[in-house]
């Protein structure tokens, strides 16, 4: 969002319509934008960690004044890829930031059942990666930690691990009901008393840079925008059937062309059995 991915683009990706940059091929929240240097999200956990190291490897080779950054959760630090990725980054001296959002839960697994180490920051130390633990609900603390980490990574060619401590107030996904495995009181406590957005707002308001009126107006405006972009995205057509077969390779091979023809023939023959908002071409 900060880089310029519009709310409409987010909505298009969620609905997988014809304007989705991903052409309707990935599930919601798995967006990507080549233009904004944001690699398309892929579901398997922690596979992005070595990939970020690879991107940083390229940056180091080109001697670019830039670094790679990758995000994962507390659960992701159990995956093999996390360990090897950190190890590689340290050995290679790759300019990469590893940002772990330790929110206490991996679906229903609390961190006490995920690892017995002293959190995630210590894992970085074990690999020779400079690490920092920061209050993830303090916007300013996170800002300064990341800013300094980036400077170190870029100027000193080294990886940095940032563990941001926070709490997952929501459910893991729309198919999860977390009250099944944790107390409602705990959730309520964090939601009402430790909300990071409210905390920043209090700070701004106490300095008279913001007030309740601005808050209400902003919320209303954003709500209207969101409803509009979602409605817009929903009403658009889905990508055509040919998108099922393109981009598997750079040039569509013969066997896929044949499969495409077969599929088009079936869908054309029994249109009532297939969604009506997917054009045949």
């Amino acid at each position: 969002m900060w880089r310029g991915f519009t709310l409409q683009q987010f909505a298009n990706q969620c609905y997988g319509n014809e304007y989705d940059l991903g052409k309707g091929r990935q599930m919601p929240v798995h967006y990507g934008s080549n233009e904004l240097n944001y690699l398309t999200v892929s579901s398997p956990i922690a596979t992005q960690v070595p990939q970020a190291v690879g991107a940083a490897y390229g940056l180091k080779m080109d001697k670019k004044d830039a670094c790679a950054v990758t995000y994962f959760g507390d659960g992701g630090t159990s995956e093999g890829d996390f360990h090897a990725g950190m190890n590689f980054a340290a050995v290679l001296g790759a300019p990469v930031l590893f940002i772990c959002r330790n929110n206490g839960w991996a679906i229903s697994t609390p961190t006490s059942e995920q690892f017995r180490s002293d959190g995630v920051a210590i894992k970085g130390q074990a690999y020779g990666v400079r690490s920092i633990r920061v209050d993830g609900n303090d916007a300013l603390a996170v800002y300064f930690a990341v800013k300094n980490a980036r400077k170190m990574a870029v100027e000193e060619f080294r990886p940095i691990l940032i563990e941001a401590l926070t709490y997952r107030v929501g459910h893991h996904s729309t198919s999860d009901d977390s009250s099944k495995y944790r107390s409602v009181d705990e959730i309520e406590y964090w939601r009402t008393r430790r909300d990071p957005v409210a905390r920043l707002r209090m700070f701004l308001q106490s300095n008279r840079w913001w007030d309740d009126e601005n808050e209400d107006l902003l919320r209303q405006d954003l709500r209207t925008q969101m409803m509009s972009v979602l409605h817009n995205a929903e009403s658009k057509k889905k990508p055509g059937l040919s998108n099922l077969f393109e981009d598997v390779y750079d040039v569509i091979p013969q066997n896929l062309k044949e499969q495409e023809q077969e599929t088009q023939a079936i869908v054309g023959k029994y249109p009532k059995d297939y969604p009506s908002d997917v054009p045949l071409d």
Partner: protein, 356 residues
């Protein structure tokens, strides 16, 4: 119908089963060219591509100053530097992941698996990311990665080092796969794989690295999707690849002396199959024998048979025969190991059965 035996015995015995030089399009009909071993051919191809494009780099275990377990990258770290020929810690899934990330952000990495069997550890990155990200990103990111390494049954390397993973990668969408079998096609396929915008798996064979051949001095690139017509014939189509090509050629010497005229095709491209070349051959001979090193169940042969049936059923005069390895892990004992790989006498027997 074949000529009666007496006529055949009267004509000159053929000792060379491979097509005569003037008939083969692959080798340039010049007296020049240079002789080298297959692993040197791979290195030559790799070196030429690294000189041509500064984005090409190599990642793998012991590929740097050690030069690689099979010496394919020997001398390259000294020439191009430690970063371009990178020694990685032992974590196949992760350095393959690194290669995917590097490829998505502009580099053209080549991942060397010390043995194809170890790439099973990299299967998550290869299947879930490498093959998919071009598609799921809507075409925004390409993954021009080459994943290569030796596979196949060696000389008593044990079950874990004798894997034939071609069949595992075959169904991953988004990947291309080729298998080299001679110094000529090894160099050509290496260059083509590096230049391809798609992720390519280059299957090498552990016992073929010391094959010697004379290859052209001029630059050449092979086609990733084309099979190689090794010997034209009209009695039967023999489809094979990698080390089995050489077993087939050995068997062919004996077959030709017995009066058979097999057409031998090295399929080269394992994904996708070159159905054009294969089809033309089947339309001519009407009989097919597949000789592979994969396991019987779910191997390349199994999927090739299905492809042929789908496309060329009307041209077949007999069921497709397939010689493969048994569905067993490769034993260490030499005699047992030899029994798990298709040998020339088996091929001769199969042709006799198929052709009568």
């Amino acid at each position: 119908m074949r000529a009666p035996p007496s006529t055949v015995r009267a004509s000159k015995l053929v000792t060379n089963a491979v097509a005569v030089k003037s008939e083969t399009a692959s080798i340039a009909a010049t007296k020049s060219g240079h002789e080298l071993l297959l692993f040197e051919a791979l290195r030559e191809g790799l070196e030429e591509e690294m000189e041509r494009d500064p984005r090409v780099c190599v990642l793998g275990e012991d590929v740097g100053h050690y030069g690689g377990s099979y010496k394919v990258t020997k001398g390259l770290a000294e020439k191009f530097g430690d970063l371009r020929v990178l020694d990685t810690p032992i974590a196949e899934n992760s350095f393959t992941g690194m290669a995917v990330g590097a490829a998505m952000t502009g580099l053209r990495p080549i991942v060397e698996g010390m043995n194809m069997g170890f790439l099973l550890l990299a299967y998550n990155q290869i299947s879930n990311n490498c093959g998919m990200l071009h598609y799921t990103s809507g075409g925004q990111f390409t993954i021009p990665v080459v994943i290569r390494g030796p596979g196949g049954v060696g000389r008593q390397l044990g079950a874990e080092h004798s894997q034939r993973l071609e069949s595992y990668f075959q169904s991953v969408p988004g990947l291309q796969m080729v298998a080299c079998s001679t110094p000529y096609n090894a160099k050509g396929l290496m260059k083509a794989a590096i230049r391809s915008e798609n992720p390519v798996i280059l299957c090498e064979h552990v016992l073929l690295y010391n094959l010697k051949e004379r290859i052209p001095d001029e630059e050449y690139v092979c086609c990733l999707e084309r099979a190689e017509l090794v010997r034209p014939g009209k009695d039967v189509t023999i489809l094979t690849y990698s080390r089995m090509r050489h077993h087939v050629l050995q068997a062919a010497k004996s077959l030709i002396n017995k009066g058979y005229d097999p057409e031998i095709i090295d399929i080269i491209s394992l994904k996708p199959f070159d159905l054009h070349t294969i089809g033309n051959s089947i339309k001519k001979t009407h009989k097919v024998l597949i000789v592979e090193e994969c396991m019987r169940t779910g191997g390349i042969g199994a999927s090739l048979r299905a492809s042929i049936m789908d496309n060329f059923w009307d041209y077949l005069d007999a069921p497709i025969m397939c010689l493969s390895s048994q569905d067993v892990p490769t034993p260490y004992a030499g005699t047992l190991e030899e029994a798990t790989v298709v040998q020339p006498p088996q091929i001769v027997k199969a042709i006799k059965q198929l052709c009568g």
